[in-house]
């Protein structure tokens, strides 16, 4: 890595004024029955990513999420693919993407005449739109102030709270000082920290939002009897959800928390934000919140994060579509064992090789390199995992029927 840190790089300007660090085509499918066609259209194309919703019944959270991804700053064009029977409307997704200045197209597989004609139609649309966005999307200079970065952790161990998450926290402090947006989530991994969290609120309104989100998360965990701590966490030395929580909270750094955003909401102004991805109480009951790490990453990307930081202790091999994922571990043993998957060894903080401040500065250089176009390790390996689930959040109650 270069000793001279560039502070500016070239990105892609969208018509809403936001700037992306990639210029991708997104294929969105609107029911599981269309998933094979969507993946086959994108197969072998590094700059064509896929997300989709498997349910036939629609769900407001899932639609909000997919619309946020279709208008994400890293996305230049959208191809929406439906089967033809499902509730979710691919034409609406394509129209809304077009209204945001993106190239877009859509079709129903049934209308095209099945798999083969759909693949031809879809591949042709991708080629056409790719040419268009390579030609037409303006290139602009970007700095840290243009970045929104989300962070979550997964496969945590005893090093995560000592090195991995504190390194990200120290980097988040720098990002906020530079005028950027930092988003952390996993409020179900902040159990036992009510007072610690509230003491970080930027103002009375933020404090109220944090208190509400915390109380809802505890009620959720008690109601569904699920706490966000896994066998791997225990094997890695974490004994309780409270202990894991304090380690996870370290990724928030030390800046004031401006407030709480929900899935598919962009931060209203720059600074540090908490994302509440926990389902709201609903007649279908809470459902599940973070069933896996990928679900949380999708939520962070939906808020406009152009880059995602993922902190692991035990080791993880996930990536993400739409926004490149940078993998940070606080465990040097894990870094050595899974070096092809790990971007950053924050375990050097524990050996005394690096100060926390130096680690944060080095992580910032790594973020800038990825923002400039260098693929992160999960990105280069082709990791594009996604997960869009049924969830009820900020959803008006349905008056008729019992849709999921």
């Amino acid at each position: 890595m270069s000793e001279v840190t560039p502070t500016s790089w070239t990105g892609y300007l969208r018509s809403d004024g936001r700037k992306g660090v990639r210029n991708l085509v997104l294929v969105v499918y609107t029911v599981e029955c269309a998933s094979h066609v969507a993946h086959a259209i994108a197969a072998g194309e590094d700059d064509v990513h896929v997300v989709g919703f498997s349910g036939c019944y629609d769900n407001q959270y899932a639609i909000n999420l997919m619309l946020a991804l279709a208008r994400h700053p890293n996305i230049g064009a959208v191809l929406s693919v439906g089967l033809g029977c499902e509730y979710t409307r691919p034409d609406k997704i394509a129209d809304i993407a077009a209204a945001s200045g993106r190239a877009s197209d859509w079709f129903y597989i049934q209308n095209e005449g099945g798999t083969k004609p759909s693949l031809e139609r879809g591949r042709a649309a991708v080629r056409r739109m790719r040419e268009q966005i390579h030609r037409d999307v303006p290139r602009v200079p970007m700095t840290l102030a243009d970045l929104t970065i989300g962070c979550e952790c997964g496969g945590s161990d005893g090093t995560s709270g000592l090195a991995g998450n504190p390194t990200v926290g120290a980097f988040f402090d720098r990002l906020v000082d530079a005028g950027g947006n930092a988003i952390f989530e996993e409020i179900v991994e902040m159990i036992g920290l009510r007072e610690v969290m509230l003491s970080r609120a930027a103002n009375a309104q933020a404090k109220e939002e944090l208190a509400h989100a915390y109380d809802k998360a505890v009620a959720y965990c008690q109601a569904v009897r699920q706490y966000s701590v896994s066998p791997g966490n225990f094997a890695g030395g974490l004994t309780t959800i409270e202990e894991k929580s304090m380690g996870a909270f370290a990724k928030s750094g030390s800046q004031p928390i401006q407030g709480v955003i929900k899935v598919a909401q962009r931060p209203p102004h720059p600074g540090l934000w908490l994302m509440d991805s926990v389902p709201d109480s609903h007649f279908m009951q809470f459902g599940y919140t973070n069933p896996n790490d990928t679900e949380g990453l999708m939520d962070l990307i939906s808020a406009g994060s152009q880059i995602i930081l993922f902190v692991t202790g035990r080791g993880s091999v996930i990536g993400s579509p739409v926004a490149p994922l940078i993998k940070v571990t606080g465990n040097s043993q894990t870094y050595r064992r899974m070096q092809d998957d790990m971007d950053f060894d924050a375990g050097r903080v524990l050996t005394g090789e690096l100060s926390l401040g130096d680690a944060a500065a080095e992580l910032e250089r790594a973020v800038i390199a990825v923002a400039s176009g260098t693929p992160s390790k999960p990105e280069a390996l082709g990791h594009r995992e996604y997960f869009v689930m049924y969830k009820h959040q900020d959803t008006p109650p349905l008056q008729i029927g019992c849709r999921a």
Binding site: D157, G158, T159, G161, L162, I191, G192, L193, V196, V218, C221, Q222, R225, Y227, V229, S230, P231, G232, N233, F234, A235, G236, G237, L238, T239, T240, I241, E242, E243, M246, G247, A250, G313, N331, Q333, L350, T351
Partner: protein, 108 residues
């Protein structure tokens, strides 16, 4: 790796420290502090008791309660699922001590 395994106390109020190296029976060096006796292997990332604790006593790490002692714990002892319980999550007390695997889900 240094010959004496190190452990780290995050906050002055903590009564546990985190191992920075894998330790076998012998001693551990608290970073910037005393030497602790070790009677059993404790792995990197796991916790060691910095003082004797009575059953029910709050266990503190990062300066916040992370649970309570489910039985008496001696100084230098490994602190984990067998002697520390969450104040929120009741399932964690029933997991396998070494692997963390669930023992309450049926596979047949």
């Amino acid at each position: 790796m240094p010959s004496t395994p190190r452990c780290f106390r995050v906050h002055p109020a903590d009564n546990v420290a985190t191992l920075l190296d894998d330790a076998v029976a012998g001693e551990a060096q608290l970073v910037g502090g005393e030497t602790l006796p070790i009677h059993e292997p404790i792995k990197l990332g796991h916790k060691i008791a910095l003082s004797d604790m009575a059953a029910g006593q709050t266990i503190t790490k990062f300066g916040v309660p992370i649970g309570h002692a489910s039985r008496n714990i001696g100084r230098g002892e490994w602190v984990h699922l067998h002697n520390c319980e969450s104040n929120f999550d009741t399932r964690s007390g029933g997991l396998d001590l070494h692997t963390g695997a669930a023992t309450d889900t049926k596979y047949e």
